[in-house]
């Protein structure tokens, strides 16, 4: 499924891009825990989205495929037991005087019971989770 969103951050693009190298900063994101970098250079963390009805911590693996002044591409894999979410995330940055306008476009594949049992709610939940973690991460950068 394709999801999109947009938000504004007071941080400039450089600060946002710098987050990739600052695990201690990412650790401050409220929905992220146990942030670390694995041997392949990917970021691993436990992500607990607030949009779910009960706490559902997902193990996430984030690979930054491209990062530039105007856009970035991330590959994100999240899993919790039998449910997996694969996200190809594209970020577009629009630098403004007040900060950065961030547009995101996600190609999402949900697998396991999340795709079947959760098929009626998964779109909204994944959309909310992506939007939430991106906003919170951008807020940390600011």
């Amino acid at each position: 499924m394709k999801l999109t969103g947009q938000f504004s951050s007071p941080a400039d693009v450089a600060k946002l891009l710098a987050l990739d190298g600052q695990l201690d900063q990412l650790e401050r994101v409220p929905s992220l825990d146990d942030v670390r970098r694995d041997s392949s250079g990917r970021i691993r963390a436990i992500f607990t989205p607030r949009a779910t009805f009960v706490p559902m911590p997902f193990a996430v693996v984030i690979a930054v495929e491209h990062a530039g002044q105007s856009d970035a591409a991330l590959k994100v894999h999240a899993s919790r037991g039998p449910t997996a979410v694969d996200v190809q995330l594209k970020l577009e940055f629009d630098q403004r005087d007040s900060g950065t306008s961030v547009s995101w476009h996600a190609e999402v594949a949900v697998r396991g019971p999340g795709a079947s049992v959760g098929q009626r709610v998964v779109r909204d939940l994944v959309s909310a989770a992506i939007d939430e973690v991106l906003r919170e991460t951008a807020a940390v950068a600011a």
């Binding site: 997996a84 396991g112 049992v117």
Partner: protein
């Protein structure tokens, strides 16, 4: 072939609608199912399942699970590979290279929902939390979910070592279909038909408790094992453990319908954890897990279907190619590749039949035997083609079937492949079914509905329930398989108080075995219905089981009851021996009636059975020595069905002992705006030979009908293009309830089987007659401008049918 039969009409209980003995406890929620039995120090197991349809396992990290309160331990694929052997495969090369274990084998997962890790904890909730915390890294691999694509040369391989996705392939060719197709007056061709995936969704999902006694090195399993001895063999092979140190038990089981024939697979994981952790382990399947892996029925594609028939409506024969989707593993499969041949002729006088059959791997849930296993698909195809031919060539659908049905005077009827249909009266059954739906009035209703936005359709389903397998048919699959015939065992004994105790080798999961056994045993011993006590459940440790014991393939009324009758007769002979000695007459002068052993013609000279029991159990010295030494008041006997091994070269021979018939008819209303199909009238006429308990039969017919209707209209285990199951629970997989169904109209015809102990036939699977009847009714409603070529017809497909779906796929060649 005939055998000596008892006469139910002279019996007090057999043939009567005796109230079910099981119902009191079941209706009061006092049954004991797999998850009910209290066990000390019990731990619980949960599986970590693959979210991918096909992927390589890169890494498994259980560290987060270890932090969950109550976590006890886990079982990983590497341990399973080290500690177990793969399950035995029935097929020969190349499919026998498949490796199947209780957790994902060979470092790969092959369907979404496949277990990868088993986690144990002190509570069910903790086990599930711990399982959710296990992180498995996967490298996704190309997958294949469409059977037709799976047989293409460049398809992703489900099992690399097999080298292709065809687990089994064979051509079945009887008669001369080429000659028939060349010379017939008419030939109908259909490009492709599809029989969809659905399951039986028993009320009780699978529940297993595995206990390991280190002192005796013995495993005890309790749960829903439909074939306990075969399960024992499978478990012994997988666990590398002696069969004499395995015991398989069950108490109440909340339904199986065939799909609980593979319980040994999760049981293997439970056993390994029980031994590893030193505690009993219980696994209770969730509904979603049941949908993911509990076993789907066979999905089948029929391609290049051709039917030859004459101008007078005589159908000569049929040919087609079958692609049977067995999912990711052959569990019980590819037996389905030969099981369908039990009903090769369906209900008709076919003379020629050729089927090129392939059992095909896909990245989907493995199929299990499922109500009408493998026959339902072929029967639906034949009936669909009969219906299409009637429509296309302008034959009256009723007369067309009547003409081609096997006629009552043709029984026993030998089919194209040597199966012997024992008895039946299909024309009479159809007449009754049409009366029940008021056929002529329904036709008037159909005409009156024209132009109102509603369409009325009338459909007929003609099907068979083949019962009591000849396991020799497995040799058609693989000549090295050591199976042939079929047998069941039973134990009947007189207890110390004169009560009768009966134990069957069969496994009850709702059919009413305690009831029907009580009926026939009470009649045979001349005691009351309530004086017979039937052991609940099964126990592989008792001698009441044979290797093929269990409940499957509609056979209990023949094999289970046959064994019980034989055992009871042995007990009766012992009782007569004792009574004769005490009363001073010969055993043949003793009859059993009214709870007594009495001298024929002299009712005053009688011995209550309690006295017989008392003498044998407590005062054997009162008896002549030769009687005391030989009488134990226990009858143990088998019933062995009279089968020969089939001719493997010709694929010819009798594969099934009995053939119950079900003729269904229905009237549907279709809303042209929404595609909604509403059943207005539904009738079923059952013929399962001499009834043992008509109420039990009618109940099973109702159940099979509800399931078939539900499958035709609501139930679809469909996968999306990513290999994800679309129907993960009952919200998306709607099993029909009373709200969805009309009041059923039921009648029966009685054609006693000449081959079975009391003329009864196995029944209850139902053969999928509702799938046929509803397909035909929808076809009747939409007319010839479209073709119903799928067994599943939800509103969206009906709407497309109303717009001409599939019309081009049906061709009248001449």
């Amino acid at each position: 072939m005939t055998i000596e039969q008892t006469r139910p009409d002279t019996r007090r209980f057999t043939g009567k609608a005796m109230p079910r003995k099981e119902d009191a406890r079941l209706l009061k929620a006092q049954g004991e199912f797999g998850d009910d039995t209290p066990v000390a120090n019990l731990a619980y197991m949960a599986f970590v399942r693959s979210p991918y349809a096909h992927a390589r396992i890169v890494d498994i990290d259980v560290s987060a699970a270890e932090k969950v309160d109550g976590y006890l331990g886990c079982l990983l694929p590497d341990e399973v590979a080290e500690l177990t052997d793969p399950y035995a495969e029935l097929q020969g090369p190349p499919g026998d290279a498949e490796v199947d274990r209780c957790l994902a084998a060979g470092g790969k997962v092959r369907f979404s929902g496949e277990p990868v890790v088993a986690v144990a904890a002190t509570s069910r909730e903790a086990a599930r939390d711990a399982a959710a915390a296990v992180v498995v890294d996967y490298e996704p691999l190309p997958h294949v979910v469409d059977t037709r694509k799976a047989v293409e040369p460049d398809a992703p391989l489900v099992h690399d070592q097999v080298g292709c996705n065809v687990a089994f392939e064979s051509t079945f060719d009887w008669g001369d279909i080429d000659f028939a197709l060349e010379n017939a007056d008419h030939v109908i061709e259909v490009d492709e038909l599809h029989f969809h995936r659905f399951s039986s969704t028993p009320l009780e999902c699978t529940a297993i408790t595995a206990e390991y006694d280190a002192g005796t090195d013995t495993f005890t399993f309790t749960g829903g094992f439909a074939t306990p001895q075969l399960a024992t063999l499978n478990l012994a092979g997988a666990l590398r453990h002696p069969t004499n140190k395995l015991r398989v038990l069950s108490k109440d089981i909340g339904g199986s319908f065939g799909i609980k024939l593979n319980t040994h697979i999760p049981a293997t994981a439970a056993a390994l954890l029980a031994r590893k952790l030193g505690r009993p382990i219980r696994w209770t399947e969730t509904r979603t897990e049941s949908h993911q892996m509990g076993g789907h029925g066979n999905e089948r594609w029929f391609r290049n279907v051709k039917m030859a028939l004459q101008s007078d409506g005589t159908v000569l024969g049929l040919s087609y190619e079958a692609l049977d989707d067995v999912g990711a593993y052959t569990r019980y499969e590819p037996l389905g590749a030969v099981i369908w041949t039990q009903v090769a002729n369906a209900c008709y006088q076919l003379k020629h039949l050729r089927v090129h059959y392939r059992s095909v791997y896909t990245n989907k849930c493995p199929t299990h035997p499922n109500r009408g296993y493998s026959r339902t698909q072929h029967l639906w195809l034949v009936e669909r083609m009969m219906d299409i031919a009637a429509h296309k060539l302008g034959f009256d659908p009723v007369e067309f079937r009547m003409k081609n049905y096997i006629q009552p005077d043709q029984y026993p009827y030998t089919t194209v492949n040597g199966c012997v249909y024992d008895s039946g009266n299909l024309p009479e059954s159809l007449r009754k079914a049409l009366e029940l739906i008021d056929y002529e009035e329904a036709r008037q209703l159909q005409r009156a509905a024209a132009g109102t936005g509603k369409r009325i359709g009338i459909g007929i389903g003609s099907t068979l329930d083949s019962g009591t397998n000849n396991f020799g048919q497995a040799r058609l699959l693989n000549p090295h398989l050591p199976f042939g015939g079929n047998s069941e065992a039973a134990l009947v004994r007189l207890g110390i108080d004169g009560a009768v105790y009966a134990t069957t080798g069969a496994v009850a999961f709702g059919q009413g075995h305690e009831t029907t056994i009580s009926q026939v045993v009470a009649d045979e011993l001349g005691v009351s219905y309530d004086d017979v006590h039937v052991q609940r459940g099964s126990d592989s440790g008792l001698s009441a089981q044979m290797g093929l014991s269990g409940s499957y393939a509609s056979q209990f009324a023949v094999t289970g009851i046959g064994a019980m009758l034989n055992a009871t007769r042995k007990l009766a002979a012992e009782i007569k021996q004792v009574a004769a000695a005490v009363l001073g007459v010969k055993p043949e002068e003793i009859e059993l009636a009214d709870g007594k052993a009495r001298v024929v013609g002299d009712a005053e000279k009688a011995l209550p059975l309690s006295d017989v029991a008392g003498i044998v159990h407590f005062s054997p010295a009162s008896l002549p020595r030769e009687v005391a030494e030989n009488v134990g008041l226990v009858g143990r006997a088998v019933y062995s069905a009279p089968f020969d091994l089939p001719d493997l070269e010709r694929k010819y021979g009798n594969l099934t002992l009995t053939y119950a018939t079900q003729i269904h008819a229905c009237v549907v209303e279709i809303d042209e705006e929404t595609g909604q199909t509403t059943l207005l009238r539904y009738a079923m006429v059952d013929d399962c030979g001499t009834p043992i308990n008509p109420m039990v039969i009618e109940g099973q017919v109702h159940g099979a009908t509800a399931h078939g209707i539900s499958a035709a209209l609501f139930e679809d285990m469909a996968y999306d293009e990513n290999g994800q199951l679309r129907a993960g629970n009952f919200y998306d997989y709607h099993a029909a309830t009373a709200f969805d169904l009309p009041s059923f109209r039921y009648a029966n015809v009685v054609s006693p089987s000449p081959f079975t102990p009391i003329g009864a036939k196995g029944m209850g699977e139902g053969g999928g007659a509702p799938l046929q009847a509803i397909s035909a009714a929808i076809q009747d409603a939409v007319g010839d401008s479209a073709a119903v070529l799928d067994s599943f017809n939800p509103p969206e497909r009906v709407l497309r049918l109303l717009r001409g779906l599939n019309a081009e796929k049906v061709k009248v060649i001449r």
